[in-house]
């Protein structure tokens, strides 16, 4: 009995090892979104380029991608090419949320590259961002035709984003 019991510390050790090891590769800055499976929050704003009013209801109806970006955000320039590629496939609209940005530099930023966005929602004070649980640009949300958020990606999206995340939704 004693010898059997002495296995316990070893088991405990293995468990501790396991948790330590698994936490090594975790990104501690990643926060899961509680919004997955919920409707996109309500908002009322204007678009960046045409300055027409836009609200959450204007987006709903078809699946879409919502990309949170700003001209001050370096990582946003890194994902820009991948956004353009998705835009060129012409299968899903990408909306932009211009997060805490200066309107003029945002326009300049877009002019110097090409524009992958169908419409860009202006969020100067970051309030829409807070409602979306944004804590750093870029962030990318995937929304289905019912307006439910089904995926959230923090950081620049890479080339596999379209095939892995978007395609399964479109093909459904």
């Amino acid at each position: 009995m004693r010898y059997k019991l002495s296995v316990l510390p070893l088991l405990a050790l293995i468990t501790i090892f396991y948790f330590l090891y698994s936490s090594l590769n975790k990104d501690p800055t990643l926060i899961p979104s509680p919004l997955i499976g919920k409707k996109i929050p309500e908002f009322y704003s204007t678009t960046l380029l045409k300055k027409k009013p836009i609200s959450n209801e204007d987006l709903v109806g078809k699946p879409f991608v919502l990309n949170v970006w700003a001209s001050w955000c370096y990582a946003c320039t890194l994902e820009h090419n991948n956004l353009l590629k998705i835009h060129k496939k012409n299968t899903i609209p990408i909306y932009g949320l211009n997060y805490k940005d200066d309107t003029d530099s945002a326009k300049e930023w877009l002019n110097s590259k090409s524009n992958p966005y169908k419409d860009i929602i202006v969020d100067i004070d970051g309030n829409i961002g807070i409602d979306f649980g944004v804590y750093g640009a870029p962030e990318t949300f995937l929304v289905n035709k019912d307006g439910l958020i089904i995926h959230k990606h923090v950081g620049p999206i890479d080339e596999s984003y379209y095939n892995k995340i978007i395609l399964p939704l479109i093909e459904k």
Binding site: R2, L20, L24, P28, S33, P34, G126, I130, F132, Y135
Partner: protein, 305 residues
Amino acid sequence: MKINILFLISLFFSSNIAHASESGQYNEIIENLRCLVCQNQSLAESDSNLAKDLRQKVKKMLETGKTDKEIYKFMSDRYTDYVLYNPPLKKSTWFLWYSPFLILFFSLGYLFWSFKRKKELDYKSPASIKKYNNKSIEKTLLENKKTYKAYIYLFIIIFIPVITLSIYSYSSELASYKIAHYFESKEPIIDVTILVHDDILSKITGNEILFVYARRSNGMRVPLAIDIFDVVALKKNYNIKLDNTMNMIETQTLSTAKEIIVEARISRHKQAMASPGDYIGRSKPIELKSSNYLLIRIDSIVTGQ
């Protein structure tokens, strides 16, 4: 009670509590909300932009007559319970709350049981003596003690490094990064010597930042390896190393590229994106071997976009 203790502790450890509002309620709420981008600071302590925005939001909600509960719910609806320093007791977290008591209970039970056994063996039953008829009781006890000691030593030998390592890894992000990447292959490695041109050197104040990064010579301009240094006034050359683990994006490492260019840029605005007035130097395109050596002269100025 729990809130009070947490509040007291945070009072002790936070040197710079924001006094944006006179209201104690406001202060208490922002003390109990975690800053999302800085991990170990509360909203009250943090200077990050997001924390400022969220503080503003809390203030506004208080002004419109929202209760503490509503504000906490507003935050956790958007940023999960992670944002709360005092997370609620839920089905998924009860083990976390009660496991210490459970462990205490079981170890007390075990301790009690083993004392009882020892007593039995020592004094009470002749049956236990019969059981060990070939050896004396003392000898058996001694042997048992020995094996126990061996286990304790083994436990300590393995446990202490693990504990040290884990404390070390949680002590800073850099440390945990280092541990996580320790076993990764670092090759290809690029040794870079950076020379700053004399004219540029005379203009450097020491407030700049030096970005050194490798990117593909054609195609995507994502940095495959990047490192950042503080610029020192009057320092003419820098010796730095770029390797396979210094990537920004998981799939874009040095080993995935055939031909690369290394750029060194001194940024006056401390910005990751090149802006006019930055000093820059770049290498010729090189094909990567397992170890490489490069010399870069910073001798030109970034103009325009």
